[in-house]
């Protein structure tokens, strides 16, 4: 099965070939590297930008204003925070011009902890992103969703912030992407040759051309639709990204006690799927919102507010948020990382607490 990096690469290729993508760019996005996580290897419109995130967002906006279809990348979500004013401009351009100018761009950036990334390769970005009006925001957890959401993002004429999880970028999927060849075959076809040093890599890739799978489709995951990961009767977990998998592990533990957990993978954070969430909460009456961003003005607090507003009298226990610790960063040592972002044990603890709450 394809990894998320391969899935994204195939979706970008599909975008170039069939959806009018004109520019895929960012730091080290073009040859020879094709992205620090291999996402943009072998793509015909990929190019290397200067090391300058403001210039990347600004140029993407300019390209979009001139009718192009850019997909830009900020190498790590940790380095997007010098562009917030520009992201606000991107988000308000259509509205400020009273509907005259479209800004059909996609901004991709990799987020989250879980790989010993230390202070500056562990940041979440969704909470601040969601506070910026005018953007749609997606954050897939599987290669198939990553493919389908990227196709949808490219097709969307509005700015889309495409976040994707660092910890899952190399994880293989469990579902086939339409048109995806067999695993080793896929690797042979679209993974660029590598080497011990940059010099070797450059050399090896000079003559290399990817062989793109013929059968790729415009398979889409609609923006705004959550995924029911597993159904349950007793409690709902609303989460996304890496924590979908941690939630599943926690749910498995609770299952031993006969507690069944419903898990919702939001996939899109703006606009998010209120229907699926509210329906589930109405059924279970108990809910944990789970993510790894820091807890003050956390996106989960937004979800909680809406849940409270719409399901207050149906809740049988306090709804809760389990988020990252309120600290300035994720420390490098494993002890620090594990204590800074929710782990399976923490999730189990919270789920049990909610389930055992007696009003």
């Amino acid at each position: 099965m394809a990894t998320m990096a391969q899935a994204l690469r195939m979706a970008l290729h599909y975008g170039e070939e069939h959806l009018g993508v004109t520019d895929i760019f960012g730091e080290d996005v073009g040859p020879p590297l094709g992205g620090v996580f291999t996402v943009s290897q072998g793509l015909k419109t990929a190019w290397n930008s200067p090391l300058d995130e403001r210039g990347i967002i600004g140029t993407a906006l300019g390209l979009a204003l001139a009718g192009q279809k850019p997909v830009c990348e900020v190498q790590f979500g940790d380095y997007i925070f010098n562009t917030i004013d520009l992201l606000k401009l991107v988000g308000n351009t259509r509205w400020s011009s009273n509907g005259q100018f479209e800004v059909p761009l996609v901004c991709m950036t990799i987020v989250g902890a879980g790989i010993h990334g230390s202070i500056y390769h562990s940041h979440s970005f969704e909470s601040i992103a969601a506070h910026i009006p005018g953007w749609k925001i997606v954050l897939p957890s599987t290669p198939l969703d990553a493919y389908g959401l990227l196709i949808s993002s490219i097709k969307d004429p509005n700015p889309v912030m495409f976040l994707y999880p660092k910890a899952l970028i190399r994880v293989k999927g469990e579902e086939l992407i339409p048109g995806e060849p067999e695993e080793r075959e896929l690797k042979r076809m679209i993974d660029a040759p590598t080497g011990p040093t940059l010099f070797h890599i450059e050399e090896a890739r000079k003559s290399w051309k990817p062989q793109w799978p013929k059968g790729l489709t415009d398979y889409q995951v609609p923006i705004g639709k959550a995924k029911m990961v597993q159904e349950g009767r007793d409690i709902t977990v609303v989460t996304y990204s890496r924590h979908v998998f941690l939630a599943k592990q926690a749910a498995a533990e609770l299952a031993n006690d006969g507690i069944t957990t419903e898990i919702i993978d939001l996939r899109t954070l703006y606009p998010w799927d209120r229907d699926t969430v509210m329906q589930s909460v109405r059924k279970t009456g108990r809910v944990l919102v789970l993510n790894e961003d820091t807890p003050v003005c956390n996106f989960g607090e937004h979800i909680l507010r809406e849940i409270n507003h719409h399901c207050f009298y149906e809740l049988v226990a306090r709804p809760r948020l389990l988020a990252g610790a309120d600290v300035p960063g994720v420390g490098l040592h494993e002890n620090l990382e594990l204590a800074s972002v929710p782990q399976v044990g923490d999730i189990v603890r919270e789920l049990r607490a909610i389930c055992s709450e007696v009003p």
Partner: protein
């Protein structure tokens, strides 16, 4: 320069000035709330507009303006009523539907990208439209303007750097209108060197500094440098020394600077044309009178147009139903 052109520029100067003065008055009442604009820059901004190629799409020029470019817009053909509609924040304001401050243009039919209040960010956006133009071919260019103080932002460097990438030089005309002030802070307090444009050299970019209060100098040099950018498909940086005749904005005293303290390019040009007998003093004064009158009438007219509604705040955030 042909006589007709000379006269046309004077007429545009008068229109621009009367329009701005009309809006300054509005800013002192509930009619406008606020004003900032371009009196003192007309000798440069009008030639810029006359030489530009407005239109929609890659065959035309793209514009990323500062908030002092009303005269440029007029020279490009803007109906002064449209500007008044924005100043009076009517629903009919074609640039922003009554949402944005005066002189914050946006006109997709002319490739006039939304003027942003955030100083200097336009320099970071401009290389993007120019990149599309370079790829497209033809002679369309990107024109981006800014003030002197704003060049302190990092975006100044970013614009120049992205416009000069090896093998990817893009056709941007970078313009600094240097009025030697940022609100109350004088050029001498914050700028280490005599000219801002000189920094372009460090990027291998051509540059020049001109007297932007002189119509003929501006027209000639703009003709040359626009031609360079159009044909070479490379950037150029032009700094124009201009006046700021009504101060920074209505918030910091929109009153004429003391007589003679800064050059009034309209007066200078009018005197020149009177001397050259292109126009009589009487005709010039009548022109001012007539344009003042016209703006008053326009204001009356547009004030009757509908105001934006409360519900409209939700319009145009996202494109739906694609």
């Amino acid at each position: 320069m042909k006589k007709e052109l000379k006269l046309r520029i004077l007429e545009l100067m008068v229109t621009a000035r009367c329009l701005e003065e009309r809006m300054i008055k509005m800013s002192k009442s509930a009619d406008g709330h606020f004003w900032l604009g371009g009196p003192g820059e007309e000798a440069f901004n009008i030639p810029l507009g006359l030489l530009a190629r407005p239109g929609r799409g890659l065959d035309y020029d793209y514009f990323h303006f500062h908030y002092r470019n009303a005269a440029t817009m007029l020279a490009m053909g803007m109906d002064p009523r449209d500007e008044l509609r924005q100043a009076n924040n009517r629903a009919t304001d074609p640039f922003s539907g009554g949402r944005n401050f005066v002189n914050h243009f946006a006109r997709v039919e002319w490739n006039v990208c939304p003027v942003t209040s955030t100083i200097q960010t336009q320099w970071t956006v401009a290389p993007g439209t120019a990149r599309a133009q370079k790829r497209h071919g033809g002679s369309g260019i990107t024109i981006v303007t800014c003030g002197d103080a704003g060049t302190a932002e990092g975006d100044f460097h970013i614009g120049l750097n992205w416009a000069t990438q090896p093998g990817q030089e893009v056709p941007v005309l970078f313009i600094v209108t240097n009025n030697r002030y940022g609100i109350s802070t004088s050029y001498d307090q914050v700028q280490p060197v005599d000219s801002i444009a000189e920094k372009a050299r460090g990027y291998g970019m051509q540059w020049d500094v001109i007297d932007g209060t002189d119509v003929e100098v501006s027209y000639k040099r703009l003709t040359e440098v626009m031609n360079y950018v159009r044909t070479e498909r490379k950037p150029f940086m032009l700094e124009a020394k201009v006046s700021r005749l009504y101060g920074h904005s209505s918030s910091s005293g929109a009153n004429r600077v003391p007589e003679g303290s800064e050059c009034d390019p309209m007066e200078v040009w009018a005197e020149k044309l009177i001397k050259q007998k292109v126009v009589t003093r009487k005709a010039y004064l009548e022109m001012i009178e007539a344009e003042t009158q016209r703006m008053n009438e326009y204001l009356k007219e547009i004030k009757a147009e509908p105001a934006p509604t409360a519900e409209s705040i939700y319009d145009h955030i996202f494109k739906e139903g694609f």
